[in-house]
Symmetry: C2
Amino acid sequence: MPFRPVLLILSVALALGPSVATAAPRVVLAIHGGAGTLPRAELGPELEAGMRADLARALKAGHAVIAKGGSALDAATAAVVILEDSPLFNAGRGSVLNAEGVAELDAAIMEGHTRRAGAVAGLTRVRNPVLLARRVMEDSPHVMLIGAGAEAFADSVGIALVEPGYFVTPRRRAELEAAKARERESAGAAWRRSPFHIGTVGAVALDRDGRLAAATSTGGRTNKRWGRVGDVPVIGAGTWADAGCAVSATGWGEYFIRVGVAHAICARVAFKGESVEAAAAAVLADVADLGGDGGVIVLDPRGNATLPYNTHGMARGTIDAEGRVDIRLWED
Amino acid sequence: MPFRPVLLILSVALALGPSVATAAPRVVLAIHGGAGTLPRAELGPELEAGMRADLARALKAGHAVIAKGGSALDAATAAVVILEDSPLFNAGRGSVLNAEGVAELDAAIMEGHTRRAGAVAGLTRVRNPVLLARRVMEDSPHVMLIGAGAEAFADSVGIALVEPGYFVTPRRRAELEAAKARERESAGAAWRRSPFHIGTVGAVALDRDGRLAAATSTGGRTNKRWGRVGDVPVIGAGTWADAGCAVSATGWGEYFIRVGVAHAICARVAFKGESVEAAAAAVLADVADLGGDGGVIVLDPRGNATLPYNTHGMARGTIDAEGRVDIRLWED
């Protein structure tokens, strides 16, 4: 059997190949804290430092899960919970307020290799919507629950509810007042044009078994009305994961739904063999063609990540298998 | 110039080619009244005759719109309104009842060439949910509205609300009682296994300008809880239209969301160049692999229609440009 050793060496070389051949780090977690970040001068150094610190905490929490051999699902969940709990991002505490001054929250989660999914919309009393989305996925026969019914389910599985006031911060109250003032000045047309309404948090993760997961959470848009739901809890629009690709989106939700952004990116990867970079760029261009804007974070099973956006800025970061963190808010 | 006449004849032959070469009629409207139709013996001749008559009325109403040069959007809307008003299908009047005995309605509509879309979920007082979905699309800056907020929007644009009792029929009350009895017998596990919970109505239409539209409406599943929302109002899951393909789905909504059925079919048509038949078959096989079932109706801009399903039956029909109707409930 003279060929056996040669074959073995070849196999080892092939298995090591990708990590040897490329200098790009293998990203295990990418996160975003929303497209539409204010310009540096308007944001101010204090808020910038706070956002960077919370993004770093989220990345490290997710990385710790992966490093211990945990699942992509657990890593994405851990990262999003930290961003929901931070008052600096538009999700969980610190969410933007609807026209009635109430935070109305949406979230979704999806696991790639099983395509299990959970989504919740129109919550006003669930502290961590992403945790409820996950319980819907794991402990109900359903994928999507909304409103008071979703909160009754939360109560039935032992998820603690909070008072609606928990989510409200002075900054978001001021933003709502400003939005209402603009609306009065422009006789109702302001909603369409305001640039201050984008924001969401999300994560895409890759575990040691090569499994992907995506999670997204949001308070939606300032001054929203009529039980408006954006792309976040629409599986395939703001959140999607399959065996080859995971996406969490942030942007003008209506356009992201109409393009089916998250699923369209992964369909290009699966059906056209495109890289995540090429697929994400093509789909964001499609959003722009319709008149929308925003960004996405995308990860494939080889640890290739892409985090493009076409807004002024997008709070975002990655962490690789070795724990190296890269955080950016603008082009830098 | 001796070749001119030959070229002209060739061009005419090529232009006529498709319609001369194939006997298949150019379908301008396809509709469904839900996958999971009872076997003929259980359904009974009276219900079967009623369903066939209402499906024919819906097809003719949509065809009349197209024949007058109207839009695919108007045709799909007209067909779905008739099926919502019929007490024989699970949408609008005659919808199945949730665990509280209330009809909780979802609907969506999408226009192919503009990819404008509207969706509503969790309605209890809107007589024709598809009409509200259309107003969301045309008269709001939003795509998706849910619950009481969606009904407040309906009221604000002059859509008349009805009492929740309007939707309730004796047949659906009996089905709910039967579902609750099964649930008691099996200690809660019945929900997952019951075969009697599928049903939806929908339409896909093609107008003389080659434009596509899709619309879907449903009462969801008998004995549903917790504000459960299925695939119908999830743009990309139960409803999708783009320039090359329109889909309305009916089936076990949770699986249809997890596969992104409607968008996946059109992505295969767009990105892989598959026929609507091949794309729909592949995506329904994907649903079956995960453990789900149901059906879809799909139409392309050349009038190729496919109406596959993997349940016992699916109420469905097509009408071609000349007004020829084809209605089926089972394999027949």
